[in-house]
Chain length 370, copies 2
C-alpha cells in the first residue's frame, strides 16, 4: 500500500500502542450499519451477502460513518460467517431470519470434508474491498480488518443458526470433544491465514471477535475457545499490525485473553465496569477498547454526554480506544451516535481527575504512559 | 401447616443456614421439566398454563423428581410470568413460540392500569398447589416457592416476548426511567406479597429469580434491578423462611446482591468459577447455590461424576447447595440427571482436601462453620 497517503489521524494506532494521545480515539462496532439511512439506501438495492461480496458496495458503506459520524477508524464491512462459507458451509441470510447454515456441522466426516481456505481465491472480494477502502480513505483514518474467532465460528456452524443457549454446540464439546477440536483447529488456521491476507490487502489493525465466548464456562472456555483464539492471534502478530481481541461475555477472563493472545488491546463489553476490567488486567501492558452500553444511545443527548464523560474518566486518557460495549443497535438515531462520538472527541481532559498525569505524559517525547 | 410430619431430610435448610451437614444437599432448577418422560406424559394432556393453574397437576409434576431422581428439595411447578398475568397482562404460551404478552407495557398509563395483586384471589391456584405438595411430601424434603424478581418481570412485560438483547426494555430505562421505576415498584410489592402468601401456604424456602439480570450493565443493574430485588427480598425475610437470590449473568454483583437482599444463599451461575464467586463474596455470611453447567449433563456419566467432584471440592462441604448453574435442558437423559444428583449425595468428603476441617466441624454440636 505504498500508493496511499500517510495517516493524518493515527490516534487509534497510537492508543493501541498505549502512547500519549491528544484525545481518545473513538469508533463503534457495526458503525457501518442499519442505523444510518445512507446504509439502508444501499441495502435496499442488494441483499446483505451481495453487499459483502461486492467490493464497491462494501467500500461505500464502510466509508459512510467516517464521513457522516466522524469516527477515528474505519472497519471493513463484512460478516464473520464468510470464513465458514469459504470452507464449504452453505450460508443463507434470509430477511428477518438471520444467517443460517442449512447443513450444520455435526460429525467428524463433515469436519474432515471442510475445505482448506485460500483467502485470495476464496475471500478475494473482502481483500479487494479493503484495498479499495484504504485507497479511498487516503490516510484520513486507519482501516481495521476483522474475523470471527474459531469458537464463535464453530458454534455457529454446529448450531446452524442463532441461538440463546448454544446447547447443540456445547453438547458437541461434552459428547464429541475430538470432533470439536478438529473443527476448531481447521478454523484457527483459516482465520489466521485470512487475517494475514487482510493485512496484505491494506488492513492496519485486526480485531478478532469471539462473540459467543460468553456461552462457555471457565473450563470450556479454556479448552475450546482460548487456545484457538490464541492461535489465530499468533498469525495476526506475525504481520506486525496491532491486534484487538474481543470476547464479550468473558470479562472474567480478560487477563487470560491478554496473556494468551498478546493482543495490543482487549475489548471490554458493557457488562463490566472499566475499573473492574482494569483490575482484572492488573499491570499488564495492554490497552482497552470499549465499553458504553449501546442502549445508552437511546438516552437524551445530554445524558449520553454525561455517561460518555464518566466512561472516559473511568478508563483514563491513555491506552483506551472508546467504543460501544457491543454493536450499535439498528434503531439508534444517527444524531445520538454522533453525539457519542463528539462527546469523546471533545472531552476536556484539562478539567479531569487525570489532568496532571495527562499533562506530564504529553510533555514526554515518547513512550508508554499508562 | 401443623398437620404435616416434621422434615426427615432438612439438609437444604441446614445448608442455607451454613450449618454442618452430613452431605451436600442437591436439587436442580427446572427439575420438574421436560427431560422427564413422566412430565411429558402429564404435559401431553394439558397446556403449560393449565398445568400451572391446576393444583393437582402442578403437584404431580413437582413431586416427580423427588421420586424419580431423588433430589433433596422440591420446588413448586409454576412460571415467573404468573405475576404479570395476575396484574392484568394477558399471557399466551403457544407451542414452540414461548410465552408472550400480546399487549406489552410501554407507557405510564399502562403501568398505572396494572392491577394490585391479591395473591389469595389472583394466584390461589399456586398457593393451593404448594399446600397440596407440602402434604404429599409429608416431610420427605423441604418445599421451595419462588417468584421472578421485578426487573426480570418488567423486562418481559415491556418486551412482550423473549429476546436476546432486551433492547426495548432497556430503551425504556434510558428514555422513560420514571415509567420503568413505577412499573418496578408495583412489581416489587406484588412479588413480595406473593412470596409471603407462598410461605403461608407451605413454602419452606423462597428463591427469587432475577433471570435477566445479565441484560443490564452495572449502572442500570444498581438503579433498576437491585433495589427492587432487595425490596421483594425484604418481604420474604419478614416471613422468617430462608431466601435464595439468583441473578444469573450478574456474577460481578454477588457481593452487592448478598448485601442488598440479606439472602441466606446467592445462586451462582455456570459462568463463574466457585473460587471467583467465593472471592467476590469475601467473608460475608452467605451460602452459595450452584453451579454445574447444565450442558455438562450431556457428557458421559463418568465425566459427569468427575466434574461434580471438582465442583463440590471447589465450593467446599458447608454453606453449599449443589444445583446446576441454570435450568436443566429438556434433552438431558434422566439417567444423566440422576448420575449428577447421586454424585453429589455419594461424594466422599473423607478423601477430600476438606477432610480435616469437615471432621472438626461435624464434631461441633452446632453453629456456623464456614
Amino acid at each position: 500500500m505504498s500508493d496511499v497517503a500517510p495517516l493524518a489521524n493515527d490516534l487509534l494506532l497510537r492508543a493501541l500502542r498505549r502512547e500519549p494521545v491528544e484525545r481518545t480515539p473513538v469508533w463503534m462496532m457495526r458503525q457501518a450499519g442499519r442505523y444510518l439511512p445512507e446504509y439502508r439506501a444501499v441495502r435496499a438495492g442488494s441483499d446483505f451477502l451481495t453487499m459483502c461480496r461486492t467490493p464497491a458496495l462494501a467500500a461505500e458503506v464502510t466509508l459512510q460513518p467516517i464521513d457522516l459520524i466522524g469516527v477515528d477508524a474505519a472497519i471493513i464491512f463484512s460478516d464473520i460467517l464468510v470464513v465458514p462459507e469459504a470452507m464449504g458451509c452453505h450460508l443463507t441470510l434470509d430477511e428477518g431470519v438471520g444467517p443460517q447454515f442449512p447443513t450444520p456441522i455435526r460429525s467428524a466426516a463433515q469436519v474432515q470434508a471442510l475445505r482448506q481456505v485460500d483467502p485470495v481465491t476464496d475471500l478475494g472480494y473482502m481483500l479487494e474491498a479493503l484495498t479499495l477502502v484504504r485507497r479511498e480513505l487516503n490516510g484520513r483514518v486507519p482501516l481495521i480488518g476483522f474475523a470471527g474467532a474459531p469458537w464463535t465460528l464453530a458454534s455457529y456452524m454446529v448450531e446452524g443458526k442463532g441461538t440463546k443457549q448454544f446447547a447443540i454446540a456445547k453438547r458437541m464439546l461434552f459428547e464429541q470433544p475430538a470432533v470439536a477440536h478438529a473443527l476448531l483447529e481447521k478454523l484457527a488456521d483459516a482465520v489466521g491465514a485470512f487475517c494475514q491476507a487482510q493485512v496484505a490487502a491494506g488492513a492496519q489493525a485486526i480485531q478478532l471477535f469471539d462473540s459467543w465466548a460468553g456461552a462457555l464456562g471457565p473450563r470450556e472456555f479454556r479448552e475450546f475457545a482460548l487456545p484457538y483464539l490464541a492461535r489465530a492471534a499468533a498469525a495476526v502478530r506475525e504481520t506486525g499490525v496491532p491486534l484487538i481481541a474481543f470476547a464479550p461475555g468473558a470479562s472474567w477472563a480478560l487477563d487470560e485473553i491478554a496473556d494468551a493472545t498478546q493482543a495490543d488491546a482487549v475489548g471490554v463489553d458493557w457488562h463490566i465496569s472499566p475499573t473492574d476490567a482494569r483490575a482484572r488486567l492488573g499491570d499488564r501492558a495492554v490497552a482497552m477498547q470499549g465499553n458504553l452500553d449501546p442502549c445508552t444511545l437511546y438516552a437524551p443527548i445530554d445524558e449520553i454526554q454525561r455517561r460518555t464523560h464518566d466512561m472516559l474518566e473511568a478508563f483514563g486518557p491513555f491506552g483506551h480506544i472508546a467504543n460501544l460495549g457491543h454493536g450499535i443497535l439498528p434503531d439508534i438515531k444517527p444524531a445520538h451516535a454522533k453525539a457519542y462520538v463528539e462527546a469523546v472527541q471533545q472531552h476536556d481532559w484539562s478539567r479531569s481527575a487525570h489532568a496532571d498525569a495527562r499533562a506530564a505524559a504529553l510533555r514526554e517525547p515518547a513512550g508508554v504512559s499508562v
